[in-house]
C-alpha cells in the first residue's frame, strides 16, 4: 500500500503543473478582444487561473509529501499527528 501511495503521489505531483499549463495554454489560445464568445473573455480565464493555481500548488505539495513517504502509515491516534 505504501508503494502505491508513493507512486500515486508522483502522479499527483505531475498533474498539478499539467493543470496549470493547460489552463494558461487555453487562455492564451482563446482570449481574443475581437471575439464575441464567453471563451474569448479574459475575465473568466483570469478568475479560473487565479483560483486553480494555488489549489494545483497544494496538490503538488501533497503529491511531494506522499512521494516522500509522509502518508505511508495513517495515524490512528491524535497523538501521532
Amino acid at each position: 500500500m505504501a508503494f502505491v501511495r508513493r507512486y500515486i503521489g508522483i502522479l499527483l505531483l505531475l498533474l498539478a503543473p499539467l493543470v496549470i499549463y493547460s489552463l494558461v495554454h487555453g487562455a492564451l489560445n482563446h482570449i481574443d478582444p475581437a471575439g464575441k464568445k464567453d471563451i474569448n473573455n479574459p475575465v473568466i480565464w483570469i478568475i479560473i487561473i487565479t483560483i486553480f493555481t494555488p489549489i494545483a500548488l497544494g496538490l503538488m505539495i501533497f503529491g511531494w509529501y506522499a512521494f516522500r513517504g509522509e502518508y505511508d502509515r495513517n495515524p490512528e491516534k491524535s497523538a501521532q499527528l
Binding site: I48, A66, E76
Partner: protein, 202 residues
C-alpha cells in the same frame, strides 16, 4: 462516501446521455402526433431588408401524453410576385414528457440525488473525526469551503469553457465533475482513514 463517488464517476455519462437522447430536437419530430392547436403564423420585418420573417407555431399532442410546440422560422421572399419562402430552423419547445419518460426522468434524478446524499451525508461526521480538536475548525472549514465554493461554484464556468472548446460533444462539460470525483476517490481511498481515536480529550 467513496461508493457514492465511484457510482457518480461510472454513471454520470450514461444518465445524462439518457436525458440528452430523450430531449434532443430530432426525437421530438411530430411523427404519429395529432395537431392540438393549428398553425399560427406571425410576420416580422427584418431590419434593413425588404424580406420578412415568418414564425409559425403548431402544437402537437400524442396519445401517450406527449405534447410539443413546433416553432418554424422561415424567410419570406418579397422580391417575387408569388409567395416564396426559404425554410429556416425548426425548434421544438414546451415539451411535455409522456408518462413513461417522465417517471424514467424522476428515477434518474433520484439516482443523482442519492449520490449527493451518499457523499454529503457522512461528510460532516467524517471531517470532525478526521482532525484533533486544536486544529479541527480550520481543518474542516478550509477543505469544505474549497470543495463547495471553488470546485462546486466553478462548475458552470468550466462547463461553459469545455463546451465552447469542444462543441462536438454536448456532454463534455461532465468531465470536470467526473475528474474532480476521480481525484477525491483516489485521495479518499488511498490516503485517508476513517479509524477514530476513542480518546476525545485531545
Amino acid at each position: 462516501m467513496m461508493a457514492g463517488l465511484l457510482l457518480a464517476i461510472l454513471t454520470y455519462k450514461p444518465i445524462f446521455g439518457e436525458f440528452l437522447n430523450d430531449t434532443v430536437n430530432d426525437s421530438w419530430k411530430p411523427v404519429n402526433l395529432s395537431v392540438l392547436k393549428p398553425k399560427a403564423e406571425k410576420e416580422d420585418s427584418i431590419k434593413g431588408s425588404p424580406r420578412k420573417l415568418i414564425t409559425s407555431t403548431t402544437v402537437y399532442s400524442g396519445s401517450d401524453g406527449r405534447k410539443v410546440t413546433e416553432v418554424k422560422t422561415d424567410t419570406l421572399l418579397t422580391e417575387s410576385s408569388t409567395r416564396q419562402t426559404i425554410p429556416g430552423s425548426v425548434v421544438y419547445k414546451e415539451k411535455h414528457l409522456p408518462s413513461a419518460m417522465y417517471w424514467k426522468f424522476v428515477a434518474l434524478v433520484f439516482c443523482l440525488i442519492l449520490y449527493v446524499t451518499m457523499v454529503y451525508g457522512p461528510i460532516a461526521a467524517f471531517l470532525v473525526e478526521l482532525f484533533p480538536t486544536r486544529i479541527r475548525y480550520t481543518s474542516m472549514s478550509l477543505p469544505y469551503h474549497i470543495g463547495n465554493g471553488v470546485f462546486g461554484g466553478l462548475v458552470p464556468f468550466i462547463g461553459l469553457l469545455l463546451t465552447t472548446t469542444y462543441p462536438a460533444d454536448p456532454l463534455v462539460g461532465l468531465w470536470y465533475p467526473i475528474g474532480v470525483a476521480v481525484l477525491c476517490l483516489i485521495i479518499g481511498t488511498l490516503y485517508l482513514t476513517n479509524k477514530i481515536d476513542k480518546n476525545i480529550k485531545d
